[in-house]
C-alpha cells in the first residue's frame, strides 16, 4: 500500500513538527523581554512580593520541567490558567474559537464558490473584454484591505440602508436569525476579498491547462471548449489551488482578527491581541499553540489531499 | 595512447529501496584519435557513461583511467588535466547556451576556467580565439556580440561547437548532437563536426540513438542495452555482421526511404 505508507510518512512529519513548534513557541514566549510578575505588580513593588508571585505562578522552576508540564497539560485539554484572571485558558478560548471558526468555515467554501467560476471565465475569455473586466475586478479585490471593505460595506448596508445591524454579536445558541444577520456582512467582506484572491490562482491554473497537451487531446476527442476545460482542467488546476486554500485557511484563522475588529466580534484573534496587550502570557501561549497546531494540521490535510488528487505522488516519490 | 580506459565500471542511482543500475560492469578502451559512437535507447545508460567520461559524476564502482592516469576525484592533477582537455556538445542547443550571455562570453567561458591558467597549449587572447572558432564553424564575426535567441537551431549548435573547440581540447564528447535538429539541418552540423574532428585530430565520443549517424561519422561503435555493453568494435564489422539480435533491431529501425513506395 504505497498510499498508506506515504500517508504515514506525512503523519510522522506532522507530529514531529507539532512537537518542535511547541518547544519553539514555549521558548519564545518564556524568553520574551519583561518579567511577568514584575510587570503585573508594577515597577514600585518590592522584590519579595515579586518573588512570592513568581513562586505562586511556578516561574521559579526550571524551564524544561515547565515545558513538559505545559505539554502534558495540553494533551488532556488543560492549557493552564490565566495569570491575571485566574480563569482556565480553555474556558476563554472555547466561546471565541466558535466565532472565528464560523467566520472562516463559512467564508472559505463561499469564496471558492465565487473564485472558481470567476477564474474559469476569465481564463477562457482572457482575450475578450469580458474576461479582462473580470480580471481587472479581481485585481481591485486583491488590493482591497479587508478592514477597509468591511468599513465600506458597513457604511452602505448597515448605516445607510439599515439592512443589517452593526452592533454586538449574538451567539447562534441564543437566536439563529439574530446570529445570521450579524454574520452576513463579515462573511460577505471576507468572501469578496478572498474570492478575488483565489480567483487569480484559479485563472492562472486554468490558463496553464489550456496550454497543456492533454487539453488538446481532450478537445480532439470531442470535448467542447468549456466542458473539456472543466472535465480535464479542474483536477489539474486543483493541485495548485489546494496549497493556496490551505494557506488561506491558516492565514484567516489569525487574519479574521481584522474582521472581528471591524464588526466587533469576540473571536480568537481579538482574544490574542487583548492578551498580548495585557501580557497575559499563559493565554498568549495557549492561543498561539492552538493556532499553530491548526495551521500544521491544515498543512497535513493539504498533503493528504494531494495524494488523493495527484496520482503521481502516490508512488514513492514524495 | 589510450584516451579512456574503463574497467568494470558500474553506476547505480537511488537509495536502498529504489535502486536503478544505469551501467553494469562496463569495460571499454578508447584510443586517442578514435571516433566512437555509443548507441542506445532511453534508459540504456548512455548519458551516465558520458557524464562519467566528462568527470561530472563518479562511478559507483570500477576504475576509469584518463590518458593513463587514474581518474579519482581526489586526484586533482588527473581531474585538472581532464577538465583542460575534454569538452562537450549537448543535444539541445536551446538549453546548452545561457540565454542571458552574449555569444562571445559563451564561447570564451571555457577559456576563463581557472584550470587553464598557465597552460601553454591554451589560446591566451580570448577575443582572437572567439573570432577564430566562429570562423571555423562558419559563423560571421559579428555573431560574437549577439545573444543565443537571435540564432536558429542549427546555428546554435554551431555556437556550441565553437565553445567546445575554443580551448583546443583533445577529446570531444557529444550527447545526441543532431537529434533535436531537423533532418535538413542535421547534414550541415554533421559535415561541420566531421571536418572539425578531422582537421583538429580530435578524439570523438558521441552518444546517439541513430545508427546511421554513427555509421557516417564514427569508426568504432558500442551498443548499450539497459546498462550493459552488448556489442562493440569497428563500425563496419558490427554493422555488417551484428552478433546481437538487439543490434540488428536497431539497424532495422534506421529510417530510410522505402524505394518501392
Amino acid at each position: 500500500m504505497p498510499v498508506l505508507r506515504a500517508a504515514l510518512r506525512r503523519l510522522t512529519i506532522f507530529v514531529g513538527t507539532v512537537l518542535v513548534a511547541s518547544l519553539v513557541i514555549f521558548l519564545i514566549i518564556q524568553a520574551l523581554p519583561g518579567d511577568v510578575a514584575q510587570v503585573t505588580l508594577g515597577v514600585g513593588a518590592s522584590p519579595d512580593d515579586v518573588d512570592a508571585l513568581r513562586q505562586k505562578w511556578g516561574l521559579d522552576r526550571p524551564l524544561i520541567i515547565r515545558y513538559f508540564e505545559w505539554l502534558g497539560g495540553m494533551l488532556h485539554g488543560d492549557f493552564g490558567a490565566s495569570y491575571l484572571k485566574g480563569q482556565p485558558v480553555v474556558s476563554q478560548i472555547t466561546p471565541r474559537l466558535a466565532v472565528t471558526l464560523w467566520i472562516v468555515g463559512l467564508s472559505i467554501p463561499l469564496s471558492l464558490l465565487v473564485a472558481i467560476p470567476m477564474g474559469l471565465f476569465s481564463a477562457m475569455m482572457r482575450r475578450r473584454w469580458s474576461g479582462a473586466l473580470i480580471n481587472a475586478l479581481s485585481h481591485v479585490g486583491l488590493a482591497m484591505p479587508v478592514f477597509f471593505l468591511g468599513v465600506l460595506l458597513t457604511m452602505v448596508f448597515a448605516v445607510h440602508l439599515g439592512w443589517f445591524p452593526a452592533n454586538r454579536y449574538v451567539p447562534i445558541t441564543k437566536s439563529v436569525s439574530q446570529w445570521a444577520s450579524r454574520m452576513v456582512l463579515p462573511v460577505m467582506t471576507l468572501v469578496l476579498v478572498q474570492g478575488c484572491f483565489l480567483a487569480r490562482y484559479v485563472r492562472a491554473g486554468f490558463i496553464d491547462v489550456l496550454g497543456e497537451d492533454y487539453y488538446r487531446t481532450a478537445r480532439a476527442s470531442g470535448w467542447t471548449k468549456w466542458r473539456g476545460l472543466v472535465r480535464h482542467g479542474m483536477r489539474n488546476m486543483a493541485t495548485s489551488l489546494v496549497t493556496v486554500v490551505g494557506l488561506q485557511i491558516s492565514s484567516l484563522l489569525v487574519g479574521a482578527v481584522l474582521i472581528e475588529e471591524v464588526f466587533v466580534l469576540p473571536g480568537l484573534g481579538s482574544l490574542l491581541i487583548d492578551a498580548v496587550g495585557s501580557r497575559d502570557l499563559v493565554v498568549v501561549q495557549g492561543v498561539v499553540m492552538l493556532l499553530v497546531f491548526a495551521v500544521l494540521l491544515i498543512n497535513f490535510l493539504v498533503d493528504l489531499a494531494y495524494l488523493w488528487i495527484d496520482p503521481r505522488l502516490r508512488r514513492g516519490a514524495a | 595512447m589510450t584516451a579512456y580506459s574503463l574497467d568494470h565500471v558500474t553506476m547505480a542511482f537511488g537509495g536502498r529501496r529504489r535502486k536503478v543500475t544505469a551501467l553494469e560492469s562496463l569495460t571499454l578502451h578508447i584510443g586517442e584519435h578514435e571516433r566512437w559512437g555509443i548507441v542506445g535507447e532511453s534508459g540504456s545508460g548512455k548519458t551516465s557513461l558520458l557524464k562519467i567520461l566528462a568527470g561530472l559524476i563518479r562511478p559507483t564502482s570500477g576504475v576509469v583511467h584518463f590518458l593513463g592516469r587514474d581518474l579519482d576525484h581526489a586526484n586533482r592533477e588527473a581531474m585538472a588535466s581532464l577538465r583542460a582537455s575534454v569538452q562537450m556538445v549537448f543535444q539541445d542547443p536551446r538549453s546548452s547556451l545561457n540565454p542571458r550571455m552574449r555569444i562571445s562570453e559563451i564561447i570564451s567561458e571555457p577559456l576563463r576556467s581557472p584550470l587553464l591558467k598557465g597552460r601553454v597549449d591554451v589560446p591566451t587572447n580570448p577575443e582572437t580565439r572567439v573570432s577564430e572558432v566562429l570562423d571555423a564553424v562558419g559563423l560571421p564575426p559579428d555573431a560574437a556580440t549577439r545573444f543565443p535567441h537571435e540564432f536558429s537551431g542549427g546555428q546554435r549548435q554551431r555556437i556550441a561547437l565553437a565553445r567546445a573547440l575554443a580551448p583546443r581540447p583533445r577529446i570531444l564528447l557529444a550527447d545526441e548532437p543532431v537529434s533535436s535538429l531537423d533532418v535538413s539541418v542535421r547534414a550541415h552540423v554533421l559535415n561541420l563536426l566531421n571536418s572539425l574532428v578531422d582537421s583538429m585530430g580530435l578524439t570523438l565520443i558521441m552518444v546517439t540513438h541513430d545508427l546511421a549517424v554513427v555509421r557516417h561519422t564514427c569508426d568504432h561503435v558500442g551498443v548499450l542495452q539497459q546498462g550493459i555493453l552488448v556489442e562493440s568494435g569497428k563500425v563496419l564489422e558490427v554493422m555488417n555482421h551484428p552478433k546481437q539480435e538487439y543490434t540488428q533491431e536497431l539497424l532495422n529501425a534506421v529510417p530510410r526511404i522505402k524505394e518501392s513506395g
Binding site: I28, P145, V288 | S95, S113
Partner: protein, 267 residues
Amino acid sequence: MKKLTLVIGLIGSGLVVLAALVSLVWTPFDPSKVSGIRYGSLTWPHILGTDALGMDTASRLMVGAQTTLLVGILAVAIAALIGVPLGVFVGMGHKTLGEILARGSDILYALPALLLAILLASALGSSVTTASIAIGIATIPVFQRMARASTLTVMSQDYILAAQVSGTPTSVIALRHVLPNIAPLLGVQAAASFSMAILAEAGLAYLGLSAPKTVPTWGRMLRDANFLTQPMQAVIPGIAIVIAVMGFNLLGDGVRDYLDPRLQEVR
C-alpha cells in the same frame, strides 16, 4: 492589454512615490500640527478635510506614503536578502541542509504573518520597524521557495553542465549563470511582495500593532477615523492603500509581461 497593465501600475506606484518625495520637502500643512478646525469637511484650504484632532488629512496622507514605501522596502529587503541566497544555495544542491531548510521554511510558510507580527510586537513593542521586520521574516519562505525552484530549473540546463565540464567553479556558476537567469522572476516576486507588505502593514496599523498614533500611516488613519460621522476620513486612506497595493502589483505583472512573455503567471 499588456501595456495597459504596465501603464496603470506605473501611474499607481508613481503617485505613491511622488507623494512621498514631495512630502519630504513640502506638505500643505504641518501633518502633526493641530489646527483649529476639527472634523473639517473637504473644503479649501483643507482639501481632504481634517481629522478628529484637527490635523490636515492631505498632509498626513502624503507623509503616510513615506511609511508605506519604507515598509515595502524594508520587508522585501529582509525577505529577499535572506531568502534568495538560501534558495540558490539549496537549489544548487546541498541535500541535508536543503531538507532541514525545507522543513523550517514549510513551518514558517504556513505561519500567518499576522501571528508573527503579533508575537514580535509584544516582544519588541509596536512600531513600523517591528511590523516591517515581522512581515519581512514571514515573507522569507516565499523568496526562498521561488529562488530554489528557479535555481533548480536553471541547474537542469545544459549550459550548467558545459560550464562544469570546463571546470568553472561553483561560485562563478552561481554568479554568472544562476543569478542572471533567476533575476527577472525574483524582480516580479519583489513587486508582488512589496504590495503584499503594504497591505499587511495597513492591517497591523489598523490593529494598533504598527506605528504609534503620532506617526501618520494610512492604516492608522483609517482606524482612527469615525466613519459614522466622517465617512470620508475613512474612505480617503482606504483608497490610498488600494491605489498603492494595486499599483505595485500591476507594475510587477506589467514588467513581467513586458520583459518576458514566456514567464508563467506566478504569485
